[in-house]
Protein backbone atom coordinates (compact mmCIF):
# COMPACT_ATOMS: atom_id res chain seq x y z
CA UNK A 1 0.00 0.00 0.00
CA UNK A 2 1.22 3.51 -0.73
CA UNK A 3 1.66 6.06 2.07
CA UNK A 4 -1.47 7.84 0.86
CA UNK A 5 -3.52 4.65 0.95
CA UNK A 6 -2.30 3.77 4.45
CA UNK A 7 -3.18 7.23 5.81
CA UNK A 8 -6.55 7.10 4.04
CA UNK A 9 -7.35 3.70 5.56
CA UNK A 10 -6.29 4.72 9.09
CA UNK A 11 -8.43 7.86 8.88
CA UNK A 12 -11.47 6.02 7.53
CA UNK A 13 -11.26 3.10 9.97
CA UNK A 14 -10.73 5.10 13.17
CA UNK A 15 -13.78 5.23 15.43
CA UNK A 16 -14.60 6.77 18.76
CA UNK A 17 -14.46 3.65 20.91
CA UNK A 18 -16.68 3.60 23.98
CA UNK A 19 -16.34 -0.04 25.00
CA UNK A 20 -13.05 -1.52 26.18
CA UNK A 21 -11.59 -4.66 27.74
CA UNK A 22 -9.44 -4.52 30.87
CA UNK A 23 -6.04 -4.31 29.26
CA UNK A 24 -4.24 -1.03 29.97
CA UNK A 25 -2.11 0.45 27.20
CA UNK A 26 1.64 0.16 27.85
CA UNK A 27 3.68 3.19 28.90
CA UNK A 28 5.47 3.14 25.54
CA UNK A 29 2.20 3.66 23.68
CA UNK A 30 1.23 6.57 25.94
CA UNK A 31 4.61 8.18 25.39
CA UNK A 32 4.36 7.65 21.64
CA UNK A 33 0.92 9.31 21.60
CA UNK A 34 2.27 12.40 23.33
CA UNK A 35 5.14 12.48 20.86
CA UNK A 36 2.83 12.41 17.82
CA UNK A 37 0.52 14.93 19.47
CA UNK A 38 3.45 17.29 19.72
CA UNK A 39 4.08 16.95 15.99
CA UNK A 40 0.70 18.45 15.11
CA UNK A 41 0.66 21.87 13.46
CA UNK A 42 1.02 24.65 16.01
CA UNK A 43 -0.10 28.21 15.15
CA UNK A 44 3.02 30.42 15.31
CA UNK A 45 4.71 27.37 16.81
CA UNK A 46 3.48 28.40 20.26
CA UNK A 47 3.25 24.75 21.43
CA UNK A 48 1.02 25.72 24.31
CA UNK A 49 -0.07 22.12 24.80
CA UNK A 50 0.68 20.17 27.95
CA UNK A 51 -0.21 16.49 28.24
CA UNK A 52 -1.19 14.89 31.54
CA UNK A 53 -1.25 11.11 31.38
CA UNK A 54 -3.58 9.46 33.89
CA UNK A 55 -3.50 5.68 34.26
CA UNK A 56 -3.24 4.90 37.99
CA UNK A 57 -6.55 3.38 39.07
CA UNK A 58 -7.57 5.81 41.85
CA UNK A 59 -6.77 8.90 39.81
CA UNK A 60 -8.40 7.42 36.69
CA UNK A 61 -11.55 6.52 38.57
CA UNK A 62 -11.88 10.08 39.90
CA UNK A 63 -11.22 11.48 36.42
CA UNK A 64 -14.06 9.32 35.06
CA UNK A 65 -16.44 10.61 37.72
CA UNK A 66 -15.52 14.18 36.79
CA UNK A 67 -15.98 13.45 33.07
CA UNK A 68 -19.49 12.22 32.33
CA UNK A 69 -18.58 11.69 28.68
CA UNK A 70 -15.65 9.42 29.49
CA UNK A 71 -16.10 5.71 28.59
CA UNK A 72 -16.23 3.86 31.90
CA UNK A 73 -14.08 0.88 30.87
CA UNK A 74 -11.24 2.90 29.32
CA UNK A 75 -7.94 2.18 31.04
CA UNK A 76 -5.99 5.39 30.51
CA UNK A 77 -6.51 9.06 29.76
CA UNK A 78 -4.47 11.88 28.35
CA UNK A 79 -5.66 15.33 29.36
CA UNK A 80 -4.61 17.86 26.74
CA UNK A 81 -4.08 21.22 28.41
CA UNK A 82 -3.01 24.65 27.28
CA UNK A 83 -0.52 26.96 28.99
CA UNK A 84 -1.58 30.65 29.05
CA UNK A 85 2.04 31.76 29.18
CA UNK A 86 2.61 30.40 25.67
CA UNK A 87 -0.42 32.08 24.13
CA UNK A 88 -0.10 35.55 25.68
CA UNK A 89 1.09 37.11 22.41
CA UNK A 90 -2.44 36.54 21.13
CA UNK A 91 -5.68 38.01 22.39
CA UNK A 92 -9.45 37.89 21.97
CA UNK A 93 -11.13 35.31 19.80
CA UNK A 94 -7.86 34.44 18.11
CA UNK A 95 -6.36 33.35 21.41
CA UNK A 96 -9.36 31.24 22.35
CA UNK A 97 -9.42 29.72 18.86
CA UNK A 98 -5.72 28.96 18.94
CA UNK A 99 -6.04 27.01 22.20
CA UNK A 100 -8.83 24.85 20.77
CA UNK A 101 -7.11 24.41 17.40
CA UNK A 102 -3.82 23.27 18.92
CA UNK A 103 -5.53 20.77 21.20
CA UNK A 104 -7.74 19.46 18.40
CA UNK A 105 -4.90 19.00 15.94
CA UNK A 106 -2.75 17.26 18.56
CA UNK A 107 -5.70 15.08 19.50
CA UNK A 108 -6.32 13.98 15.93
CA UNK A 109 -2.72 12.87 15.53
CA UNK A 110 -3.02 10.90 18.76
CA UNK A 111 -6.34 9.28 17.86
CA UNK A 112 -5.02 8.15 14.49
CA UNK A 113 -1.79 6.83 15.99
CA UNK A 114 -3.68 4.92 18.69
CA UNK A 115 -5.85 3.32 16.01
CA UNK A 116 -2.81 2.46 13.88
CA UNK A 117 -1.34 0.72 16.95
CA UNK A 118 -4.57 -1.29 17.47
CA UNK A 119 -5.75 0.67 20.49
CA UNK A 120 -9.09 2.37 20.87
CA UNK A 121 -9.58 6.00 21.76
CA UNK A 122 -12.31 8.54 22.25
CA UNK A 123 -12.03 12.32 22.53
CA UNK A 124 -14.00 13.61 25.49
CA UNK A 125 -15.21 17.19 25.82
CA UNK A 126 -17.85 16.56 28.50
CA UNK A 127 -15.91 17.07 31.72
CA UNK A 128 -15.83 19.54 34.57
CA UNK A 129 -13.04 22.02 33.84
CA UNK A 130 -12.84 23.08 37.49
CA UNK A 131 -13.00 19.47 38.73
CA UNK A 132 -10.27 18.17 36.43
CA UNK A 133 -8.07 21.20 37.15
CA UNK A 134 -8.26 20.41 40.86
CA UNK A 135 -7.83 16.65 40.48
CA UNK A 136 -4.66 16.80 38.42
CA UNK A 137 -3.27 19.81 40.25
CA UNK A 138 -3.03 22.28 37.38
CA UNK A 139 -1.63 25.71 38.22
CA UNK A 140 -3.74 28.77 37.41
CA UNK A 141 -2.17 29.38 33.98
CA UNK A 142 -2.79 25.86 32.64
CA UNK A 143 -6.27 24.78 31.51
CA UNK A 144 -7.68 21.42 30.44
CA UNK A 145 -9.05 21.57 26.88
CA UNK A 146 -9.79 18.00 25.80
CA UNK A 147 -9.39 14.51 27.23
CA UNK A 148 -8.54 11.41 25.24
CA UNK A 149 -9.81 8.10 26.61
CA UNK A 150 -7.71 5.07 25.72
CA UNK A 151 -7.74 1.32 25.99
CA UNK A 152 -7.98 -1.97 24.19
CA UNK A 153 -11.22 -1.93 22.19
CA UNK A 154 -13.89 -4.46 23.01
CA UNK A 155 -15.19 -4.25 19.46
CA UNK A 156 -14.90 -2.07 16.37
CA UNK A 157 -17.86 0.33 16.37
CA UNK A 158 -19.77 0.59 13.13
CA UNK A 159 -19.24 3.64 10.95
CA UNK A 160 -21.43 6.63 11.78
CA UNK A 161 -23.34 8.30 8.98
CA UNK A 162 -21.43 11.07 7.20
CA UNK A 163 -23.01 13.56 4.82
CA UNK A 164 -22.11 13.10 1.16
CA UNK A 165 -19.09 15.33 0.36
CA UNK A 166 -21.06 17.11 -2.39
CA UNK A 167 -23.51 18.35 0.24
CA UNK A 168 -20.82 20.14 2.23
CA UNK A 169 -18.37 21.16 -0.50
CA UNK A 170 -18.50 24.46 -2.34
CA UNK A 171 -16.14 25.59 -5.08
CA UNK A 172 -14.99 29.19 -5.22
CA UNK A 173 -17.97 30.57 -3.29
CA UNK A 174 -20.80 29.40 -1.06
CA UNK A 175 -24.00 28.35 -2.81
CA UNK A 176 -27.16 27.27 -0.99
CA UNK A 177 -27.98 23.71 -2.03
Amino acid sequence: MSKAEIVYEVIKQRRSVRSYVEDPPPRKLLERLVEVGQWAPSPSNVQSWRFIIVHESGQLSALKNLSPGFPRQATAAIVICSDDHDTQRFSGQMRAGLVAEEAAMAAQNMLLMAHAMDYGSCPVASFSRAGITTLIGLPEHIHPVLIIALGTPDCQPSAPVRRPPAEITHWEDYQEV
Binding site: K64, P68, G131
Partner: protein, 100 residues
Protein backbone atom coordinates in the same frame (compact mmCIF):
# COMPACT_ATOMS: atom_id res chain seq x y z
CA UNK B 1 -22.85 -0.30 48.11
CA UNK B 2 -19.68 0.83 49.83
CA UNK B 3 -19.03 4.39 50.99
CA UNK B 4 -16.40 4.66 48.23
CA UNK B 5 -18.87 3.54 45.54
CA UNK B 6 -21.43 5.99 46.85
CA UNK B 7 -18.84 8.77 46.84
CA UNK B 8 -17.93 7.94 43.20
CA UNK B 9 -21.56 8.01 42.17
CA UNK B 10 -22.23 11.29 43.98
CA UNK B 11 -19.20 12.91 42.30
CA UNK B 12 -20.48 11.70 38.94
CA UNK B 13 -23.97 13.11 39.59
CA UNK B 14 -22.60 16.49 40.70
CA UNK B 15 -20.33 16.70 37.63
CA UNK B 16 -23.17 15.69 35.31
CA UNK B 17 -25.42 18.37 36.80
CA UNK B 18 -22.72 20.99 36.24
CA UNK B 19 -22.04 19.86 32.66
CA UNK B 20 -25.66 19.69 31.58
CA UNK B 21 -26.08 23.45 31.69
CA UNK B 22 -24.03 23.66 28.46
CA UNK B 23 -24.49 20.22 26.90
CA UNK B 24 -27.08 19.18 24.29
CA UNK B 25 -30.56 18.49 25.65
CA UNK B 26 -30.30 14.78 24.76
CA UNK B 27 -27.43 14.39 27.21
CA UNK B 28 -29.87 14.82 30.13
CA UNK B 29 -31.58 11.45 29.49
CA UNK B 30 -28.17 9.94 28.68
CA UNK B 31 -26.66 11.00 32.02
CA UNK B 32 -29.69 9.75 33.94
CA UNK B 33 -29.44 6.41 32.18
CA UNK B 34 -25.74 6.19 32.96
CA UNK B 35 -26.52 6.86 36.62
CA UNK B 36 -29.25 4.22 36.55
CA UNK B 37 -26.84 1.74 34.96
CA UNK B 38 -24.30 2.36 37.71
CA UNK B 39 -26.91 1.99 40.46
CA UNK B 40 -28.14 -1.24 38.86
CA UNK B 41 -24.61 -2.60 38.65
CA UNK B 42 -23.91 -1.71 42.29
CA UNK B 43 -27.24 -3.27 43.29
CA UNK B 44 -26.68 -6.61 41.58
CA UNK B 45 -23.53 -7.04 43.62
CA UNK B 46 -25.71 -7.08 46.74
CA UNK B 47 -29.05 -8.42 45.52
CA UNK B 48 -29.71 -11.27 43.19
CA UNK B 49 -31.75 -9.28 40.68
CA UNK B 50 -31.84 -10.63 37.17
CA UNK B 51 -34.16 -7.73 36.35
CA UNK B 52 -31.61 -5.04 37.29
CA UNK B 53 -28.82 -6.99 35.60
CA UNK B 54 -30.87 -6.97 32.41
CA UNK B 55 -31.61 -3.26 32.84
CA UNK B 56 -27.88 -2.47 33.11
CA UNK B 57 -27.16 -4.62 30.06
CA UNK B 58 -29.83 -2.93 27.98
CA UNK B 59 -28.66 0.55 28.95
CA UNK B 60 -25.07 -0.31 28.12
CA UNK B 61 -26.15 -1.70 24.77
CA UNK B 62 -28.27 1.28 23.74
CA UNK B 63 -26.96 4.43 25.42
CA UNK B 64 -24.45 5.34 22.71
CA UNK B 65 -27.28 5.53 20.17
CA UNK B 66 -27.82 9.05 21.49
CA UNK B 67 -24.83 10.11 19.37
CA UNK B 68 -25.91 8.43 16.15
CA UNK B 69 -29.60 7.55 16.10
CA UNK B 70 -31.77 9.49 18.51
CA UNK B 71 -34.96 7.80 17.30
CA UNK B 72 -33.64 4.38 18.31
CA UNK B 73 -32.20 5.84 21.53
CA UNK B 74 -35.61 7.16 22.61
CA UNK B 75 -37.28 3.95 21.42
CA UNK B 76 -34.95 1.95 23.67
CA UNK B 77 -35.64 4.37 26.52
CA UNK B 78 -39.38 3.89 26.12
CA UNK B 79 -38.92 0.12 26.08
CA UNK B 80 -36.94 0.41 29.30
CA UNK B 81 -39.77 2.29 30.99
CA UNK B 82 -42.26 -0.33 29.70
CA UNK B 83 -39.99 -3.00 31.13
CA UNK B 84 -40.10 -1.33 34.54
CA UNK B 85 -43.88 -0.92 34.37
CA UNK B 86 -44.34 -4.56 33.43
CA UNK B 87 -42.05 -5.66 36.25
CA UNK B 88 -43.94 -3.45 38.71
CA UNK B 89 -47.25 -4.99 37.56
CA UNK B 90 -45.91 -8.50 38.05
CA UNK B 91 -44.53 -7.64 41.47
CA UNK B 92 -47.84 -6.10 42.55
CA UNK B 93 -49.70 -9.14 41.30
CA UNK B 94 -47.39 -11.45 43.23
CA UNK B 95 -47.95 -9.30 46.35
CA UNK B 96 -51.74 -9.39 45.87
CA UNK B 97 -51.71 -13.18 45.41
CA UNK B 98 -49.67 -13.48 48.57
CA UNK B 99 -52.08 -11.28 50.54
CA UNK B 100 -55.12 -13.28 49.48
Amino acid sequence: MTEEELFDLCMYIATSAEGLKDEPKDYGPLRLLEILERIALYAVKEYDSSFLREVAREINENKDLVMTDSERFYGALENLVIKFASEARQRNKRKEDKDV
